[in-house]
């Protein structure tokens, strides 16, 4: 019945996607190589560049509404005058895109797809076709989202949390189809990542290289797998909730309609029960990437490998107990708030410990500040700011004032920008040689780094100030609030906007670097960084099937500077 005999072990059908397998049999035509590929590396690239493209759109949105904030009412270059409903649509879709169509696909799906099979020393994901299906559904979801901006009434403008009744009734949000398409897009995206997550988890659990024990798995793989588990454990209620919301919008049911026996608060709980673990779904892969990079470039063994895992587990479990801190003043029973304050503030403990571990790892290292290392260190430095400012909001008492101010916004951008921008650039520049077989240009890389990180602080430190001074979110124009139109407010808003323009300008350096390196970058060789993990054993870029012959694993991933060895690194696949 339950025997692991080999011919039992090769199922290729978790959820019967054969029905979708229309494209399985082209032979390496352009389509089968780049579009309908089942190769995990190609799918990773598809996710990576779809995600980045969506990120550019989201960035453009932020440019538009920041300009509106700084120079309200003026016509904005490349856009024009921003009307209130356009403004709402922009902020809503900026948030949705950056979390669901940039952070998730790039951090979880792209790096997950690229790294997991390579780092575990196997030739592909366990379910290549489900992998492809996952990307296709994701692409569809992106198309639906973009489409939702062009239907009559324009895109959905109820904020990315889309609280009903505003989101549930078109006479309130004035977007009869935009809101529904938004819900559908988000739902599809969840399905895509459920399929992907099953693939990641199964691959990591079952397909490790011979000899690789649990604690020989690189941290980043652990983190991506934990993230997928968190996602699968938390998204269900919201998936059901999304259907309810779509029904409320289009069929006229009353799930969230108070006068018909429904309850708007229910949506908030469904949303945040997923929404908070989601924060850690994107955080964990980011810290995993950072762990890989700082160990390589400080030539150090990771400090307390197991502790990192325990803190990650702790964070993951705790993250299911904190969701209502987003709703302190949203009308939940005040007595519940006390419980959630305690759990929320306590979640700082595993996160703080994780940061301590990373700092401790630097001690006694031999640090070289390459571009990836700069990004990784910047992640730690900046994410700590995001972490500590979170305490103000987790503490229910002070959240009474801070809730829905720009302080909150600055806080979570200090977590999400390090995650979705800094860590992504870190990982991208670090694995670029493996992805494309070329080295990136260090000078351009460093220019891009400083041109991104400094303006980033220039954007959000001012927003901390305006937040403390009472600016609240999602306001298209402050002119009606005398207390929010002081010269001080306006000055800081302009500083933030100008910093954003600088940041955007410097992103072109990155694209220049990308193109230059792909063309002229010098050949990378298998292991340019002299790293230990198995992906550096494969040729760069890895061919279909990744390895000449699949490697065995003999030791942990972080055996750097081992005493009495002349080489200061010791690849996992190298026999003792």
């Amino acid at each position: 019945m339950a025997q692991p005999v080999p011919e039992h072990a090769d199922s290729n059908d978790a959820h019967g996607h054969d029905a979708h397998d229309a494209h399985g049999h082209h032979e390496q035509s352009f389509w089968s190589k780049y579009v309908f590929s089942v190769d995990h590396k190609m799918i990773a690239m598809q996710y990576m560049f779809t995600g980045m493209a969506m990120g550019i759109i989201g960035g453009f949105f932020s440019y538009v509404f920041r300009m509106q904030m700084a120079f309200p009412g003026h016509s904005i270059p490349f856009f024009g005058v921003v009307t209130p409903n356009e403004y709402n649509m922009l902020i809503t879709n900026h948030g949705t895109i950056m979390i669901f169509w940039l952070a998730m696909p790039v951090l979880v799906a792209a790096f997950g797809n690229f790294l997991i099979p390579l780092m575990l020393g196997c030739d592909d994901m366990v379910f290549p076709r489900i992998n492809r299906l996952s990307y296709q559904i994701f692409l569809l979801s992106a198309i639906v989202l973009i489409g939702s901006w062009f239907v009559e009434g324009g895109g959905f403008g109820g904020a990315w949390t889309s609280y009903p009744p505003l989101s549930a009734k078109s006479q309130y949000n004035l977007t009869s189809w935009g809101s529904t398409l938004w819900v559908i897009a988000v739902g599809l995206e969840f399905v895509a990542f459920l399929l992907g997550g099953i693939n990641f988890v199964t691959t990591a659990m079952n397909s490790r290289a011979p000899g690789m024990r649990m604690f020989d798995i690189p941290i980043v793989v652990w983190m991506i797998v934990l993230a997928s588990m968190l996602f699968m454990g938390s998204v269900g209620p919201l998936l059901a909730g999304a259907v309810m919301l779509a029904f409320d919008q289009q069929l006229g049911t009353g799930f969230f309609d108070p006068v018909r026996g429904g309850d708007p608060i229910l949506w908030q709980h469904l949303f945040w029960f997923f929404g908070h673990p989601e924060v850690y779904v994107v955080l964990l892969p980011a810290v995993g990437i950072v762990a890989e990079i700082i160990t390589v470039f400080s030539r150090k063994k990771l400090f307390a490998y197991k502790t990192v895992l325990y803190t990650a587990f702790g964070t993951g479990v705790l993250s299911f107990f904190v969701w209502a801190h987003h709703q302190f003043i949203a009308g939940i029973d005040p007595r519940m708030a006390n419980v959630f304050t305690a759990t929320t503030v306590l979640i700082s403990i595993p996160i703080a410990e994780m940061m301590f571990v990373y700092v401790a790892t630097l001690y006694g290292g031999s640090i070289t500040l390459t571009t990836p290392m700069l990004w990784a260190l910047a992640f730690i430095a900046e994410f700590i700011i995001g972490g500590v400012t979170g305490i103000f909001l987790g503490a229910s008492g002070s959240d009474i004032y801070f809730h829905d101010t720009y302080f909150v916004l600055a806080h979570f951008h200090y977590t999400f920008v390090p995650i979705a921008v800094i860590a992504v650039y870190a990982g991208f520049t670090f694995w670029f040689p493996k992805m494309f077989g070329k080295m990136m240009n260090e000078t351009l890389g460093k220019i891009h780094f400083w041109g991104t990180v400094l303006p980033f602080n220039g954007i959000f430190i001012p927003l901390f100030v305006t937040g403390m001074a009472g600016d609240h979110r999602r306001i298209h124009n402050y002119k009606n609030f005398p207390e929010l139109t002081t010269p001080m407010h306006e000055m800081w808003r302009e500083v933030a906007t100008i910093s954003l323009l600088v940041l955007i300008a410097f992103q072109f350096v990155f694209f220049a670097n990308l193109i230059w390196s792909l063309r002229k970058g010098k050949a990378a060789g298998n292991n340019p960084w002299q790293a230990n993990t198995l992906e550096w054993v494969a040729p760069s870029p890895p061919p279909h099937g990744n390895f000449a012959e699949l490697p065995n694993c003999y030791r942990g991933p972080y055996e750097y500077s081992v005493p009495n060895r002349e080489k200061d690194y010791w690849p996992q696949n190298e026999p003792a």
Partner: protein, 146 residues
């Protein structure tokens, strides 16, 4: 039963045992049918003796038993690796957690410093309407109290 199943599992494929398999599955199936019968009769008896508790016990108690039997013996969780069971249990626990966190706001219609007036009114309206034409116009089993 679980023990027997384990025994079968370890020797699955050996022909003499395969018969036991079918017997085992059939036994479970019959048990399920019996339980099912009880859960259907529950409301009938319950409404006869006018005990709501009986209805609920037969309904949900038996649902749990049935679910257990299917999971353990049809899905073979009884001989599957332990942590699969733990995994599924964890997800269920998360749902109870969700319930615990949400019900104070959604299930209750009044709490500390707040009152869900709309829900209270909806309940009153519905019950008044039901009092007017209790049978409704469905042909289901007539309702107990309310």
């Amino acid at each position: 039963m679980s023990a027997e199943a384990k025994h079968d599992a370890t020797t699955a494929g050996a022909d003499p045992h395969e018969h036991d398999h079918i017997k085992h599955y059939t036994k479970i199936y019959v048990t399920l049918l019996v339980l099912f019968g009880i859960s259907v009769l529950g409301p009938v008896v319950g409404s006869a003796v006018g005990s709501k508790a009986l209805v609920l016990i037969t309904a949900f108690g038996i649902a749990l038993v049935k679910a257990y039997l299917v999971c353990a013996h049809f899905m073979h969780l009884n001989i599957e690796k332990r942590y699969i069971g733990y995994l599924l249990t964890t997800t269920v626990v998360f749902m109870f957690l969700f319930y615990a966190g949400v019900s104070p706001d959604v299930m209750e219609h009044r709490g500390r410093n707040w009152e869900n007036v709309a829900a209270q009114q909806e309940t009153l309206r519905a019950q008044r309407e039901h009092a007017l034409h209790p049978e409704g116009h469905g042909e289901g089993v007539p309702a107990e109290e309310h």
